[in-house]
């Protein structure tokens, strides 16, 4: 358990799989872990932009998800990210939603 926030362990999300033989992960050393987190934040922002939400890294341990008006949630991993985004927005975040896909698709596509 984290002594600061009382969060019980990580939940071992597959995108943060613990490094062990045979497992593909970018969770092997500090530099790689940081690089991956930066890249994850930038990828997630691309999608979250459609919902006018922003994401930032918090102490290399969690993420801060905020609305344009400043409502903020702390999220541990990608699963919590989408649940938290839906809670902040009050509506589902559906990756099959045509409006989101039009936002993401290349302009010339």
């Amino acid at each position: 358990m984290c002594a600061l926030c009382g969060v019980l362990g990580g939940d071992g999300h597959w995108t943060d799989a613990a490094a062990r033989p045979g497992v593909f992960t970018r969770n092997t050393d500090t530099m790689q872990r940081r690089r991956e987190r930066m890249h994850r934040v930038s990828c997630a922002r691309r999608v979250l932009g459609h919902y006018r939400l922003t994401l930032s890294d918090w102490q290399g341990a969690s993420y801060l998800l905020s609305t344009a008006t400043g409502k903020t949630e702390i999220v541990d991993n990608l699963t919590h990210l989408w649940a938290a985004a839906e809670k902040l927005l009050g509506r589902p975040c559906d990756p099959l939603d045509p409006a989101l896909l039009e936002y993401l698709e290349p302009a010339d596509g």
Partner: protein
């Protein structure tokens, strides 16, 4: 390095022959270091003169297997077994086989093993084996969604009672099984020997360092891709494959799949595939069942010259074209 004990699940509808299959597997010497969790001792018809009773819920079989009944929660039963193994009270089993009840949705069992705070440090998921009855299977698939779900999430299919089924009915059932699950290897229990090793141990995790096994796994996927399922509009569950060129941004793929499973997890019965990941020289295997994704596996080698990424989905009521468009949009590719 901690060695994770694989957990296999044997599922199948009521009367599908799970217990008969288990009984047959338990006789194999290869299963000597296996622990088995069942619901009732009575069902399995064990020879009571040969086995050694450890306590009221646990027996030691002549083959060396530990066999116990689940009382209450499955996670408590597995933890108790693990604790007794650590204390040396039962033989040091290296595999655990769980037989589910016929009406059970396999997903909660898989989720328990993968997500339980204690279990996930000692156990990992192995193959899911579904027994399907050749006589009543087609009717069960049509009438009971649990039955179709058990087939869709399985890594291995065992067709039972083919000796008493009508050949036309068996052929029809095979067609249905291939529509629900195009890639799982299938055994006909009544007519051919069942190799316990192939059935239980050739799982996605075991192939990480083995290029021969990787080849076999790929072969199953490729065969599934070629065997385009007949699209029948009367059924909601169907399989389809996506093949795409070039390298994949792993992080973006993770964001996409997590978002898809967050919203539609219960409808994505299965996703399995290999990806050509940007920055990685060897392919990465992904394997998920509903909301649960196994830790991705870094494979030892490419099976052939084809460097394209391939994903097979089994979905319940989702539109394959929408999934394809969505993945392309996330990865920044033209749809």
């Amino acid at each position: 390095m901690v060695e994770f004990t694989p957990v296999n699940l044997i599922t199948g509808f009521l009367g599908a022959g799970k217990t008969t299959l288990l009984k047959r597997l338990l006789a194999e010497p290869a299963l000597g270091d296996t622990a088995v969790l069942i619901n009732e001792f009575g069902e399995i018809g064990l020879d009571h003169h040969l086995l050694e009773r450890i306590d009221e819920t646990m027996v030691l079989l002549p083959s060396g297997c530990v066999c116990c009944t689940v009382r209450g929660e499955l996670s408590a039963a597995i933890k108790a077994l693990h604790s007794r193994r650590e204390r040396g009270e039962v033989p040091a089993f290296r595999r655990l086989v769980v037989e589910s009840t016929g009406l059970a949705d396999p997903f909660p069992i898989l989720s328990t093993v993968q997500n339980d705070a204690v279990l996930r440090h000692h156990f990992r998921l192995g193959n899911v084996i579904a027994a399907v009855d050749a006589v009543n299977g087609a009717g069960q698939l049509a009438r009971h969604p649990e039955s179709a779900k058990q087939v869709a999430v399985a890594d291995r299919l065992v067709l039972t009672k083919t000796d008493i089924g009508e050949p036309e009915a068996v052929a029809g059932l095979l067609n249905d099984l291939r529509r629900l699950n195009p890639s799982a290897p299938l055994w006909r229990a009544a007519e051919e020997p069942i190799d316990a090793d192939s059935l239980l141990s050739h799982d996605v995790f075991a192939l990480a360092g083995r290029s021969d096994r990787a080849l076999q796994w790929f072969a199953e996927e490729l065969a599934a891709g070629r065997r385009r399922p007949v699209d029948r509009h009367d059924t909601r569950i169907r399989a389809f494959s996506l093949v795409f060129e070039g390298e994949v941004d792993w992080t973006m793929f993770g964001i996409w799949l997590t978002m898809l499973l967050n919203r539609h997890g219960e409808k994505v019965l299965r996703v399995k595939g290999i990806l050509n990941v940007m920055g990685a020289s060897m392919p990465v295997a992904v394997h998920g069942v509903q909301h649960l994704v196994h830790p991705p596996v870094h494979m030892a080698a490419w099976p052939d010259e084809d460097r394209r990424s391939r994903l097979v989905f089994i979905v319940d009521g989702l539109d394959p074209a929408a999934i394809e468009r969505s993945l392309a949009a996330f990865l920044g590719r033209p749809a």
